[in-house]
Symmetry: C2
Subunit: 329 residues, 2 copies
Amino acid sequence: MNTIWDVAKKAGVAISTVSKVLNNYPYVSEETKRKVREAIHELNYIPNTIAASLSSKQTARTALLLNLNAGTQVIDEITLQYIHGALNAAMEVNMEIITIFLSMIKHMTPEEITRYLQSQGITGIIICGMTKEDRYLRELVETGSFKSVLVDVPLINDNTSTVWVDNAEAQYEVAKKTITENKCESVLYLEGKDNGYVTDERLKGMKRLAEELNLKMLVRNGDFSELKARELTFKYAKRKDAVVAASDLMAIGAMNALIEMDIFRPVCGFDGITLMGYVGKQMNTVRQDFYNIASTAVWELKRLFEGGKGQNVYTKYELVKLYYKDVIV
Amino acid sequence: MNTIWDVAKKAGVAISTVSKVLNNYPYVSEETKRKVREAIHELNYIPNTIAASLSSKQTARTALLLNLNAGTQVIDEITLQYIHGALNAAMEVNMEIITIFLSMIKHMTPEEITRYLQSQGITGIIICGMTKEDRYLRELVETGSFKSVLVDVPLINDNTSTVWVDNAEAQYEVAKKTITENKCESVLYLEGKDNGYVTDERLKGMKRLAEELNLKMLVRNGDFSELKARELTFKYAKRKDAVVAASDLMAIGAMNALIEMDIFRPVCGFDGITLMGYVGKQMNTVRQDFYNIASTAVWELKRLFEGGKGQNVYTKYELVKLYYKDVIV
DNA sequence: CTGTTAGCGCGTTCAG
DNA sequence: CTGAACGCGCTAACAG
């Protein structure tokens, strides 16, 4: 491996000069820049990121914290999209990402986590799938030891940004479409886990719709669980005209229950996961681009690293129905 | 953050002594060890891994290389299991893992990849989902610049190990079960991509079975694709008694085709993915524990780091049918 | 605009 | 058995 030393020698300059052109510092003549770049190119030199972070103390090493609670297919798909999006964006902006599952650090106190991360030279974190129960994470973020970007969690301060879709609006839209298409007058709403930050938002959107359309609405907590949604559907769907679920998995559970009960009710979901193409015939859902969300989070973190203040970033969504032909490859 | 200096001061020794007890070097008196450990504990000291790797040049920083070609649910599940298993095991053995998708490095030459990884201080790699087409990866491994563990690829040398299940045997068993249960005399075998290392093995197992049971076997290349399997089934299944697919996804494609054709043929798959519970009623499959495979790979890599020679490590599998009740949560 | 120098935190000889 | 001293590869003042 060539070091910065070799480059300096080859270009006939001091290592600090090389470092400067490497990091785009001002006050370097075009001529020297050229010489240095040439030497770098000829030697196929790649800076040692380890040494760089040791010395600079401010490199963009980032931890991607992921929740992997329920071992369902859905979680898999979403989580992997997060990882993929984050890693690719990280490569673009030249940032190192360490993937960490919350289960691996759940037993630690915020202080322990902080030390653990800092010992790895991590200065920024991106959190996906955080719940209200993850108080230690919240503390971690609030101490401000790291630049943070949270996905789907409304927590913003100088060095914390949030990336999420407008859940209230999305829930409103998808439900409205489903309900008006079928001229329903009453609805069973299967809301998510109380510990989920998006749960309240989605419920809010749903309430607005119920009021607007003058719907009779029954709200029940499905915990984002397919099984629970199934049970609730068995129990309540008969007396309602439609089932709106706050997640695709719950929508699938509801639909399967309806099939077993042998009655038809329109169902809609939220997420837009592939599984819908296999089982959810004709179900409206809100499709989120999780790859893009993670990617956005990385760019937002980069902004924070560069001195930007925390902010709220909305990402897009679309209303879709997934068909088998869309997912078969 | 406390440094090794603070610990040394508190324990009343030199930093080198602290370093020695940290790395379990001999020739340190029990008494000093005790003092140092106490200081470490009181200060909640965690060694800075960055500085450590800079200085030692032999830390176990590892790259987990993953293939993410087809954007299917199946790939998602398997890949995520790999990641999860690897990261958890890595934490146990105190090893740092950087996750990298092959798509991110596919445009680089082996030399470029080598430099890229080395610039990150990486000395070991684990590769999942490598195909025969990934020649640059093979070169990378064969240069011996890294300690490597390959999953499902038969390539072994002093610093390269392989982790995989006995694909031939597994394919033999699952097919045998399916075929004898249904007293079949002819079979359509949907093999995987030619570029897959497991494809030949599975075919080998299948051939042995065909010979043993004196089956009429038609082999067609399904490319691990659901769509292709579907088409092949439409074309050939009618004249056969059973369909054996070299992957779950193909099995699902075959089954859907059979349903549309409105004929019954026993089908079996390979992998044991969750999706089978949703769509694959009563299908035999070979269930692999991808979490465990990745975990095993990490431990194997650790062995290589410690001077062990490359070897072949077999992991287990089981024959199962997945039902909806097994996957609903 | 360029070069010198002092660390970053730790591992590792090598005297003592 | 212990500690002083050097260096890993690089960044960041600080002189010049």
